[in-house]
């Protein structure tokens, strides 16, 4: 072992010196090459606080990744490039039209458009679709359960029991692609709209390619990736000949720079040193005044389809008592929570957020979230705790350190203490947080902060959080551990309704969401607002804030 370590030492020292000298000389080259766009269109700079988890479409599953990859990897279907509800509509992508769905809801048939080419010039084949899905599963895409859970044979492929996915078949000549499901799944087309299902050529290496993303079909291609520092989203030279209706070609090349300090990034956009402030980041509250004063015409707060809430574990004291859960909902001052979030929060009490079909419009059962908690409601909360017999029960409040989540927990704990419980805050590193609170065996948390953003515009997505089937011993997602027969039967009925027919069942979703609020299974904080913020030279009005993917870079243009 000594020998190995010694050579290790020498190797590391050599690495240190060689890399140091080498990098010194070459550092400028890598940095500047990102700005040399191949086409003549202008370059727009986007500042991003958190780097994408991976720019390989088969692996990336963070909002920052999707922001780039959905423009470079078009699937058989995709979303309309529009703001608000219109943007949640699915349109045909590489398929000629939306698929025909069999009566039992289990077979989807697509026909590939003719004459499509990848960004490297290679023609698109019908067989590439199956390869793309297989690659995403093999690479371990973060949302692959949507594929393995529903496509026939995908589970067996994932487990290594099959070499291909039996449920996907294609005909190279006619361009016909058929996908068979194990059970009807309403939002399945939404799943196929993920960039992970955006076609890549057959034979693309079955390993992550985050630094050199594979070719795709879309108005843009991703290039010049310097991990954790920068990447470019450039006009795809192949796009012009094959433009697909509904997918704009884009006006500018995008240079993305990772600037982890939100303060610095916001200052740069404010002073027009950079063009776009990424919507996933937060403009520091201290700078907001200046932004409103100097940049009112190029700053707005956009609602996102996401909900922040405290889960209330109904399987353990004290939240096993509905009275305690009601008390928490009465006493939580959403106005205070909103201030902790710099005002970028729409206070609310329902799980389904504004912008999601099924969001109830009626008043909240336990106090108005848009007003400061009244003395009467606070007294009522204290009384409920006494009534429940749970006064003095100790409660661990879990959260993670990222602001304002820790501040939420601090405030929440002070509220629980004020109404007669004994709260203690537990903060866990962000990387470890989901695994920690999702572990019923070791942690079995009583209550804590959690946020959920839509994967796709269908309420069933949010109801994973209250579905009894999501309860698991170590990777639990139903953190309140709710197992309510009414919810279960409604989910079975509503879950198979295709996204395109959601309008026929909105009132049923509304009723279900009101039921959940009435039972106080969770304590909703509100819905997150995010900043849309650009430099002066950008046409702010033309920039579409997409309901699923945020700032639509293909609508970025100079004034």
């Amino acid at each position: 072992m000594n020998k190995r370590s010694r050579s290790l030492g020498l190797v590391l020292l050599a690495l240190l010196l060689a890399a140091g000298l080498g990098a010194c000389g070459s550092s400028g080259g890598t940095g500047s090459s990102a700005s040399t766009a191949s086409s003549s269109s202008p370059t727009v700079t986007v500042l991003m606080g958190t780097p994408p988890d991976s720019l390989d479409p088969g692996l990336g599953a963070s909002t920052q990744s999707y922001e780039a990859t959905w423009l470079a990897y078009t699937g058989l279907v995709t979303y309309a490039h529009a703001a608000g509800a219109a943007g949640a509509q699915l349109i045909p992508g590489l398929a000629q039209s939306l698929p025909s769905i069999s009566a039992d809801g289990k077979t989807y048939t697509f026909t590939l458009r003719k004459g499509l080419h990848y960004s490297n010039g290679r023609p698109v084949q019908a067989g590439d679709f199956a390869y793309t899905i297989e690659r995403a599963i093999k690479l371990g895409w973060g949302n692959k359960q949507f594929l393995t859970g529903y496509i026939a044979g995908a589970e067996a492929f994932d487990a290594g029991r099959a070499h291909t996915i039996s449920g996907i078949s294609s005909n190279a000549a006619s361009g016909q692609i058929t996908v068979k499901l194990t059970a009807p799944f309403g939002p399945f087309l939404n799943v196929l709209a993920f960039p992970a299902a955006g076609l890549v050529p057959s034979g693309t290496p079955l390993k992550p390619l985050p630094n050199d993303p594979p070719p795709g079909v879309g108005p843009y291609e991703i290039a010049h990736v310097v991990p954790n520092q920068s990447f470019a989203v450039l006009a795809n030279p192949q796009w012009a000949q094959q433009a697909i209706p509904g997918i704009p070609g884009g006006h500018a090349n995008i240079a993305v720079k990772i600037v982890s300090n939100n303060q610095t990034a916001a200052e740069q956009v404010l002073s027009n040193g950079a063009d776009v402030f990424d919507w996933n980041d937060t403009v520091p509250g201290t700078l907001l005044g200046q932004v409103h004063a100097q940049a009112a015409s190029r700053y707005s707060q956009e609602p996102t389809v996401s909900t922040e809430f405290f889960f209330l574990n109904v399987k353990s004291k004290p939240f096993s008592s509905q009275l305690v859960r009601e008390a928490v909902n009465y006493a939580l001052d959403r106005q205070a929570l909103s201030r902790l979030d710099g005002g970028a929060l729409t206070p609310a009490c329902y799980l389904l957020p504004i912008g999601m079909p099924g969001h109830p419009a009626g008043p909240c059962p336990y106090g108005d979230p848009n007003a400061t908690v009244s003395a009467a409601n606070l007294a009522k909360a204290k009384e409920l705790i006494v009534q429940s017999g749970m006064a003095g029960t100790s409660v661990d409040v879990w959260s993670e350190p990222h602001p304002p989540h820790k501040e939420y927990a601090d405030y929440y704990a002070s509220v629980l203490n004020a109404i007669g419980l004994k709260a203690n805050v537990k903060i866990v590193a962000a990387a470890q947080y989901p695994a920690t609170i999702g572990n019923i065996k070791t942690t079995n948390p009583q209550t804590g902060w959690i946020a959920f953003s839509q994967d796709f515009p269908n309420p069933i997505d949010f109801y994973q959080l209250l579905n009894a089937e999501s309860i698991a011993p170590t990777e639990n997602h139903n953190l309140s551990q709710v197992n309510d027969p009414h919810i279960q039967s409604e989910l079975t009925a509503l879950g198979s309704v295709p996204s395109s027919k959601l309008d026929t069942v909105t009132s049923r979703w509304e009723a279900l969401d009101e039921y959940v609020a009435q039972k106080a299974y969770i304590a909703v904080i509100g819905y997150d607002d995010v900043p849309k913020f650009t430099s002066q030279r950008i046409d702010f009005g033309a920039l579409v804030f997409h309901p699923v993917y945020g700032n639509d870079w293909s609508t970025l243009q100079l004034k």
Partner: protein, 345 residues
């Protein structure tokens, strides 16, 4: 090098930086002399008094909270208002900016984003910072004396093993080691069978900080013991047939006291600083306990709008660490007349 190493000895063959070997065989007499010298050093006295005042103030935190500020360290006042002069102000603005110093009883030094009174939290946080500093220093000193004397006295294999152990800790940059330990232990705490530290315990950062600094003290002590064991009075004790334990406690340890005393304030200062650095990197004191380090870290995140959240805990830290350092300087000068300023030629 993000943390100042203690002044004495970073490289082993110390030339100009060795700790004083001044008062060999030191009963009451020399110590009285030291005390007299220390009394003459006005800066050391002033700073000592200052540190003492801060300690007392922190101990009185509950009194201040109850009698003056009228709020506890964890009470949130996000949507409250406070009257400053003739105006009524939000404690926290709708966009989340907390109020600055009011210079009156309520929110004397302003509020934090949770609408908590900064002055109250500063006093409670000081308790934690000082407690961790003191505990960490204790850990460092105990381990360092143990390792240093054993290695120096027994030499050979014992020395080899212990010295390599010190080398290993030494080879880690202090902050990197501290942060790695802190993050790893923050989740589940430490469970060594005998010792069990829960993740929220203040002992955890204290232990981490303490261990990181052991080599800085153990190495010079080891060197000193190596020298002492060759001295006549040790030989004499050996000839008298006294056992290892008795010689160590009766002859060697008393001769190490001056070195230990010189290192104490130095280590205290460095421990407080390292705890702050760890807290800044998210690996120090765990919520809900505030420490100056965690308060400062939160404040930095909120600049530029709420600079009072940086200045209050930051200046407090500098004040106390500076005071302890000056006190340590005075102590060293008092113990080692050679190093007194002006001792030229």
């Amino acid at each position: 090098m993000s943390l100042p190493p203690p002044t004495p000895a970073r490289s082993e063959p110390t030339v100009g930086t060795e700790p004083p070997l001044a008062a060999a065989r030191a009963p009451a007499g020399p110590w009285r002399l030291v005390a007299a010298r220390l009394r003459r050093s006005r800066p050391a006295l002033v700073c000592g008094a200052l540190v003492l005042a801060v300690v007392v103030a922190c101990l009185l935190a509950p009194v201040y909270a109850r009698e003056v500020a009228g709020t506890g360290p964890d009470e949130n006042h996000i949507t409250d208002t406070v009257r400053v002069g003739s105006r009524t102000l939000d404690v926290v603005s709708p966009t989340g900016v907390p109020i600055g110093p009011t210079w009156q009883r309520r929110f004397l030094l302003g509020a934090d984003p949770n609408g908590r009174d900064v002055a109250v939290r500063l006093l409670y946080g000081g308790r934690n910072s000082l407690e961790i500093g003191a505990l960490a220093t204790l850990v460092t000193m105990l381990l360092a004396v143990l390792i240093g004397t054993l290695a120096g006295w027994f030499r050979g294999l014992t020395d080899g093993v212990l010295s390599r152990l010190l080398d290993v800790i030494w080879a880690f940059p202090p902050v990197l080691l501290g942060v790695a330990l802190g993050v790893a232990l923050a989740i589940g705490g430490l469970d060594l069978g005998v010792v069990k530290l829960s993740s929220g315990s203040l002992l955890l950062p204290a232990a981490i900080v303490g261990v990181v600094f052991v080599p800085y003290v153990a190495r010079p002590l080891r060197g000193q013991v190596l020298a002492l064991r060759e001295r006549e009075f040790v030989d004499a004790a050996r000839v008298q047939g006294r056992g290892n334990v008795r010689i160590l406690t009766g002859e060697i340890l008393p001769n190490l006291t001056s070195t230990i005393v010189v290192f104490l304030p130095l280590m205290l200062a460095n421990a407080i600083l390292l705890e702050a650095a760890l807290s800044y990197l998210g690996a120090g004191v765990q919520d809900p306990n505030p420490s100056w380090g965690t308060m400062l870290a939160e404040g930095i995140r909120l600049t530029p709008g709420a600079i009072h959240l940086v200045l209050a805990p930051g200046l407090m830290l500098v004040l106390v660490v500076f005071g302890v350092n000056v006190l340590g300087d005075g102590l060293r000068d008092a113990l080692d007349p050679r190093a007194v300023a002006g001792g030229r030629g």
